[in-house]
Amino acid sequence: MTHRPYTPWLFLLPGLAISLLFVIFPFLNMIVLSFTDASALGGGRFTGVDNFVRMAQDPKFWVAARNSLLYMVGVVPPLVLLPLLIAMLAQKVVPGIGIFRTAFFTPVIASAVVVGLIWTWLLDSRGLVNNVVEALGGTRIGFLTDSTLLLISSMVVTIWRGLGYYMVIYLAALANVPKDLHEAAMVDGAGPIRRFWSVTVPSLRPTMVLVAALSAVNGFRVFSEIYLLSGGSGGPGGASTTMVLLIQSVGRGLTGEVGYASALSFVLFVILLGLLLVTLKLNRREDQL
């Protein structure tokens, strides 16, 4: 059989072309635009680092960066631990377990808009949750109208939506944990909690790092939850705006400031890249220990 060196490239070509057109080119274009004052209708002059200077002086940027950071800090620990616990329950082979697994996975495939509407109806000042609170003698809580509570409510939705997705990742990883390790630990007298910390967690550590990295990136890039729960406003006075919401707000429409929105996107990219590199480094260091 003759080996033609270009054959693999022919297989790669469609994927590469799509990546080039829809990922690499827009990415490079974003970097170029971040140094201009381009508008949505094109054009734009080279303005050096003006957009970055403006960003440093823009209170909205700092609010958005702080909120995105808080969001990430708020969602990562629950999204690393809760799906693991659920996966451990879901891996048991008991009657009806399929329903349990499906129930947790449903939010993952549900439309973000539908999820947003459901939670808006639940958490609205006249929503179901507040009606229950009032019926129990409490006062209505501004889940969607207080900037801090709005962020927390959005985090809850993100966690709720993410549980099923990360559960599936953990289920796959749990299937690979050698059973003999558990059996050996049992023979040594280890109980379920001891086995969790000494067998399950160390075996799953690479998966946990992966889940932490994915949920951190998704948390920092949050958009749909906060957008839908705040009606697109970023909360009262824009105090719950996150980075992606700010980028959308600055760059949208025919009057959008595409140059500044690109600069914000560039900074977001650098932050996320930094986050991933730190995670990678930590993982490698632990591997070496």
Partner: protein
């Protein structure tokens, strides 16, 4: 984009230069022959108005032998993105349906045909205020044929008014009465309003919005207006969501009977009837609240991009779609109003038949003669958001009304550049 959605209409004064015979293939519009193919893009008119639009297209093609109009309807969601992508690529359709605030950035970027130059004789066919809505303030030029208009009454919930001991037949007529009545409702824990004021509300209050090419709504009257809202908010006359929601959100709260008053249109009345019958049973309809004597007006138009390779046909079609006959037909289908100078004379807009719909329609048609599009065309989505956020800060006590309006005006003027 936050914009009231009301559906469209057109009309028929077969246009000078377009010919009336229906057989000519050598008519002209602007500079050129009316012939060949053009594309016409509308904003969410399918499927409800498919037959109507096809009828207009057929009539045009019949009148101008050798022309073909390809109709493309875009859904409301993503309409702006579609226009933006086409405008960036220089490939806008030959005739596009745009409201003034969308035509403005396109015109500023030099992408639209100036009708004052290309079709000087068209202006008298339209209502003066509608024609002006498509002009660039201070620079002149008109960049769109006015198409369908809307204005409307205020709707109020008579049952909620009664609960608060207010006369259900005496809703507020100006902003002073609005505050007085809102504070009374608030005493009974009933919210009057579902949103903080929009820029158009500032105009209705009598605030100077724009002066010497700059926004100026931070004038003392603007401060006074915001302080009035602050008093209402503190008393509980605005629902908590008012700080973040737009017109659509406020409308939903009114439909759910969580607020007592909301501006609307004939279109909304139909919606109450089908979607909120218990509200409809208690609905009060009154003239819009204004300190200026003029109501607010919303409108759509059709523009012709300079990039069109068949401008003559595009201009002729734009004028045909928006002529009095076509607009009146459309208005009868869609709870909207014609923007032509003669369209409003049709008995449909001047005669009541005893129904609520006819009452609203006739009152609105009368209002339109003096109505003003109070939203400046320069007022972009980013500016709307800046104003909303600053007003929220006032309501929450984070800023004084003066400081917030100064900040909003500064941001709007920065975005204007």
């Amino acid at each position: 984009m936050k914009r009231r959605t009301f559906l469209a209409g057109l009309a028929a004064v077969p246009v000078a230069g377009c010919g009336l015979s229906g057989t000519s293939s050598t008519t002209t519009a602007g500079n050129g022959q009316v012939t060949g193919e053009i594309t016409f893009q509308t904003w969410s008119l399918k499927p409800k108005y498919t037959d109507y639009v096809n009828g207009v297209i057929d009539a045009f093609q019949k009148q101008h032998a050798g022309t073909t109009v390809k109709w493309v309807d875009q859904p409301a969601d993503g309409y702006l993105a579609k226009v933006m992508a086409d405008a960036s690529a220089g490939s806008l359709p030959d005739v596009i349906n745009v409201p003034p605030d969308l035509s403005f950035p396109l015109a500023e970027a030099g992408q639209l045909v100036n009708l004052d130059e290309s079709l000087k004789d068209a202006e008298p066919e339209y209502l003066e205020n509608a024609w002006q809505a498509f002009e660039i303030p201070g620079k002149g030029g008109c960049y769109g044929f006015p198409w369908y208009l809307n204005t409307g009454p205020i709707f109020y919930n008579k049952a909620l008014f009664q609960q608060a001991g207010l006369d259900p037949d005496k809703p507020p007529t100006n902003f002073k009465e609005l505050e007085e009545q809102a504070l009374k409702l608030a005493q009974k824990k009933i919210a009057m309003l579902g949103q903080t004021p929009s820029i158009a509300d500032f105009g209705l209050y009598g605030v100077k919005l724009f002066e010497n090419d700059k926004f100026a709504f931070n004038e003392p009257k603007g401060v006074e207006f915001v302080e009035s809202y602050k008093r209402m908010y503190d008393a509980g006359a605005l629902i908590p969501e008012a700080l973040t929601q737009n017109y659509t959100g406020a409308g939903a709260k009114f439909m759910a009977q969580q607020t007592a008053l909301n501006p609307g249109s004939a279109y909304d009345l139909g919606k109450f009837k089908t979607d909120a019958p218990s509200l409809y049973a208690n609905i009060g309809i009154a003239k819009p609240i204004t300190n200026t004597g003029s109501a607010n007006m919303f409108l759509h138009g059709v523009s012709v991009p300079k990039s069109s390779k068949n401008q003559a046909t595009a201009l002729a079609f734009g004028r045909f779609v928006t002529n009095a006959e076509n607009q009146v037909k459309f208005a009868k289908l869609a709870s909207i109003f014609p923007s032509t100078s003669k369209g409003g004379d049709d008995p449909y807009f001047t005669t009541e038949d005893g129904s609520d719909e006819a009452r609203v329609r006739v009152a609105a048609a009368k209002q339109l003669k003096t109505a003003v599009n109070y939203t400046p065309v320069q007022f972009s989505d980013q500016m709307r958001e800046a104003l909303l956020q600053q007003l929220a800060d006032v309501m929450l006590g984070k800023k004084s009304a003066k400081q917030a309006l100064d900040d909003a005006v500064n941001e709007c003027n920065r975005l204007l550049k």
